[in-house]
Structures are given as C-alpha cells and as structure tokens.
Amino acid sequence: MTIQKDSERNETKYLRKFADFAGRRVLEIGCGEGRLTWQYAKQARSVAAIDLDADGLRVATIDRPSDLQDRVYFSRAESEHLPFAKETFDIALLAWSF
C-alpha cells in the first residue's frame, strides 16, 4: 500500500511556527514510529520520545539517524506516569496523543 501523509507539509510548518525547538529539551508523547520526531529533532538539544506501542518504538529506534543517537531517546512509557524528574523539559509535544 502506498500512502502519502501531509504532502503539503502543513504539520511541519505549523509545528515550527508554534515552537522554537532550537536548543530545547523536548518530551514527545505519542511518538509512534517517529514520523513527527524527525521534523524537529535536529534542532533540539535533546528529545525523549515515549509511546505505548513497542512496534512503533522499534521502528523509530531503527530509523534514528546516527548523528542523533546521543540526543534522541525512545522509550515505552505512559503519559500518566512519566519516568522523568520534575522540571526536566522545556517543551512537551502531544503528538496526536489526546
């Protein structure tokens, strides 16, 4: 099946308009296979991306570019129990998750 998503790139355009990711510590909730993660990760200081879907996280980890290996982390976690200390992030991105 050949499916195209957001060929007009509206999502990326508005995401960048709404937040400056440069040098920020970002928490992404509902990252799935990382489709959205790759739209801003290069600008961010670090990214912790979580999801409950282990298959999606596996794909995201495989797709992670080598230059982002030490800045982008994927893990399985629930948004109701975030495994992070308080005041860890500058931006929280709810990616199609609510």
Binding site: I3, Y14, S79, L94
Partner: protein, 140 residues
C-alpha cells in the same frame, strides 16, 4: 487525561511550553485528486467513540486552563492530507486503523470508486483531516 496533564506540568520547567497537536473529527471530506483537479465524492460519518474522545480532550484542556496549570497562547486549525493510490487501499486503511471512530457509507464508497475509475491516471484518493495545534504555557 487530567492526570497526564498533571504529569506533563510536573516535568516542564516554569514557563515551559506544551504543544497539543491532534486531529479533530469533522466529517472529513473524501476526494479524487489529480494534477488536473479535485472532485469531492463524500464525507465520513463521525462515530460516537471518536467524538467522545475529542470532547474528553477538549474538556481536560479547558479544566487545566481553569485550574491555572496552563494558559492558552495560540491556536490554529489546518488540513492534513492522507492519500492512497486506490479506493480499496483507503477502505483497507479505514478498516484497520480508524474503524472505531469513523465510517464511510456505501453510497460514498460507490461514488469514490466510480469517480476514481474514470479519473486521470495520476489520480489518488485523498482525505483532508482537520487538525488543531495549540500552544500552552505552564503557569507557576
């Protein structure tokens, strides 16, 4: 969901931003689109489970604002397209990914197949989803 917002607030620095990006059910249109033009063949029916999800999310965000956890700074609606080569591929996707929250009636399926069968060779089946993006700022 309120508990999730409480957790997000906990892990954000003071003045940190929460970006909420999600689709909103709104009887999304289905189109047969080619380089030469676009023809709308119908719209989805939103199912109760899907609209209930949207309402829960909206209520939770409103509650978080009312409780002084976050302040809404900016909001915008935009379109996010999905497209497939054939009507069958679209129908399969709906069945496996979206069947809990929307559906397509037989008349629209028939109209889409019919329009696609006589359309240009580069035609694709396209759905225009309504999206909302909101920027919230954490309050002290």
């Amino acid at each position: 969901m309120v508990h999730a917002l409480s957790e997000i607030r906990r892990v954000l620095v003071e003045g940190g931003l929460m970006i909420d990006l999600r689709p909103i059910l709104d009887h999304w249109p289905i189109e047969v689109a080619s380089a030469r033009g676009t023809r709308q063949t119908g719209r989805f029916q939103d199912l109760p489970l899907g609209t209930a999800d949207d309402q829960v999310a909206n209520r939770s965000m409103a509650q978080a604002e009312q409780d002084g956890w976050f302040i809404r700074e900016q909001e915008h609606f935009f379109l996010f397209s999905y497209s497939w080569d054939t009507p069958s591929e679209m129908e399969e996707w709906i069945k496996t990914e979206w069947e809990d929250f929307l559906e397509l009636d037989q008349e629209t399926k028939k109209a889409t197949r019919s329009a696609w069968s006589v359309a240009d060779a580069d035609s694709r089946i396209r759905i225009q989803m309504k999206m909302v993006i909101t920027r919230w700022k954490k309050l002290p």
